[in-house]
């Protein structure tokens, strides 16, 4: 147990050391670094402009005003942005298996997951977070804040990151079996992000139920945001779902760790 704790304590520092080298690596090509960063900012900006334009034409979406949708959009964006920045590289696992770099990582005294996540750390992914934070901040201006809402909002942002974090890891682990399935994982991570950019009430109740109980991304923003917006769930889900995100996130992280361990065990027992 003490051993496990030591690993957990050491991991962030090891991560930071490896990530720092990747940042310096990317600075070796300064022009391409600047262009990629700008492109990433522009892309995420246009993404929101598209949504805003559409809403402007329609007026509102199922009774949700633009700023309310911006709150949902921002919360989900921060969640996936943080997860993508910190561990988005985990979806390259299939590539590491194919090229043999995974073997090289396995003979280093740093937990494999730390090395895989820190690999090709790209600071330009901050673009997505910056944009999401800006959108969230703008929307938050209109929220009728109370102390309990502040707590729910803080828990939401941390949990959303952890939920997407767990999704990235869990679905990337499929690549231990089928090495070319990073697109499959994207369907759940980025797909989940896209769904949660809209008020989930616009979808049939089956969709909401599966996003609550199967791939629980609804906890990343929908339930806590309903509370922040003083709204009741259109499908009659309990109000305490607003404070459930930390527990959902913790559960999903446990699933992710198990998936990762099973995947690594599969790799070490088949070598392919």
């Amino acid at each position: 147990m003490g051993e496990v704790l030591a690993v957990v304590r050491e991991a962030p520092r090891q991560y930071a050391r490896i990530a720092r080298l990747w940042v310096r690596s990317s600075l070796a090509y300064r022009a391409s670094f600047v262009m990629l960063t700008l492109a990433s900012l522009l892309l995420t900006f246009l993404d929101f402009v598209g949504l805003a334009l559409m809403l402007h034409l329609i007026g509102d979406l199922d009774g949700f005003a633009l700023w309310e949708i911006a709150l949902l959009y921002g919360a989900s964006g921060i969640g996936i942005g943080v997860a993508d920045l910190l561990i988005g590289s985990v979806e390259q696992i299939g590539q590491h298996i194919r090229s043999g770099t995974l073997d090289a990582m396995m003979v280093r005294p740093v937990p494999l997951i730390v090395q895989v996540c820190a690999d090709r750390f790209a600071i330009r992914r901050l673009g997505r977070i910056t944009q999401a934070v800006a959108v969230f901040a703008w929307a938050a201006w209109s929220v009728d804040w109370t102390p309990s809402k502040v707590v729910v909002a803080l828990l939401m942002v941390v949990s959303a990151s952890a939920i997407f974090f767990a999704l990235f890891v869990t679905f990337s682990c499929i690549q231990f079996w089928t090495q070319d399935a990073s697109e499959f994982a994207n369907a759940f991570t980025y797909g989940g992000n896209t769904m949660t950019q809209y008020p989930l009430s616009i979808f049939p109740s089956e969709v909401l139920k599966s996003l609550t109980f199967v791939i629980p991304v609804a906890f990343a923003n929908w339930y806590p945001c309903l509370y922040l917006l003083d709204r009741e769930d259109p499908f009659g889900m309990p109000e305490w779902f607003a404070v459930a995100p930390p527990f959902v996130a913790a559960l999903m992280c446990v699933v992710a760790v198990l998936a990762w361990r099973t995947g690594v065990r599969r790799y070490t027992s088949t070598g392919s």
Binding site: R17, L21, D103, P109, V110, T270, G271
Partner: protein
Amino acid sequence: MPLIDVRDLERTFVVRKRAGGMRRTRTEVHAVRDLTFSVEAGEMVGYIGPNGAGKSTTIKMLTGILVPTAGHLHVAGLEPSRHRTELARRIGVVFGQRTTLWWDLPLHDSFELLQKIYRIPIERYRANLAAYVELLDLGDLLDTPVRQLSLGQRMRGDITAALLHDPEILYLDEPTIGLDVVSKGRLREFLRTLNAERGITLLLTTHDLQDIEALCRRVMVIDHGTLVFDGDLAALHRKGGSTRTLVVDLLDEAAPIEVPGATVRRVEGPRQWLSFPSDASAAPIISAVAASYAVADLSIQEPEIEDVIRDLYGRA
């Protein structure tokens, strides 16, 4: 207790093949079986075998990347697959065909990261770095981005990277592949020094048998997943049942020479090739030939290790 202790090691893979339509056949392939050997600290061992013989499977099990199907395996007193991270601090691995260095950064940066992740005491790190920079002539290259290094320079960088944390064992997978003759020579010289002066145990896989002849007192040959030979080079020649050849240039063409202990393999004009067992002395045969024939010149050809090994592969 030996540093590497392998007994009855076995590794099977399940291969699924399509057998028409949706049906699939499931076959078990023995990548490694009944593998038994041990390596003492300070040895320098060549591990050779044709492609697919089980070399990399063995190395992967020794480093903990692959779990054995059955058998006993201890490296430095640890069970590799169970204590992979712990073992990683005590071994060094060089993958010949790919680098583990940071492509876009100077060598120096990769080394500094290794100092931190292996937690090498700083004085120890500095001393090692200085020593290997000197031995491998890396001084001018430390500030060069890895992508600008030649293959030979990069290999020297990779070897340094694998040695900074003072490993007890260094595994080298095809270390001289793609290097020019001069670089190969220098690398072999370095590995000899490393083994002799620092006592680091070396296990190298190679297809270049000159590596083996230049470096290894001991050779292990694996084929079809089992060891077909384990011993020193001289014994390998004997085991191969190989023969040395006496080339005789007579003054005139003659009938095949008849002397005890040797047989004529080939006749071409006045030149004749006589073969005799490689463990027999050439002296009595030479004197017998000289006594009965008019000899212009004599020479002895040593058996080629390639031929010896080809013989072994064929037999298994």
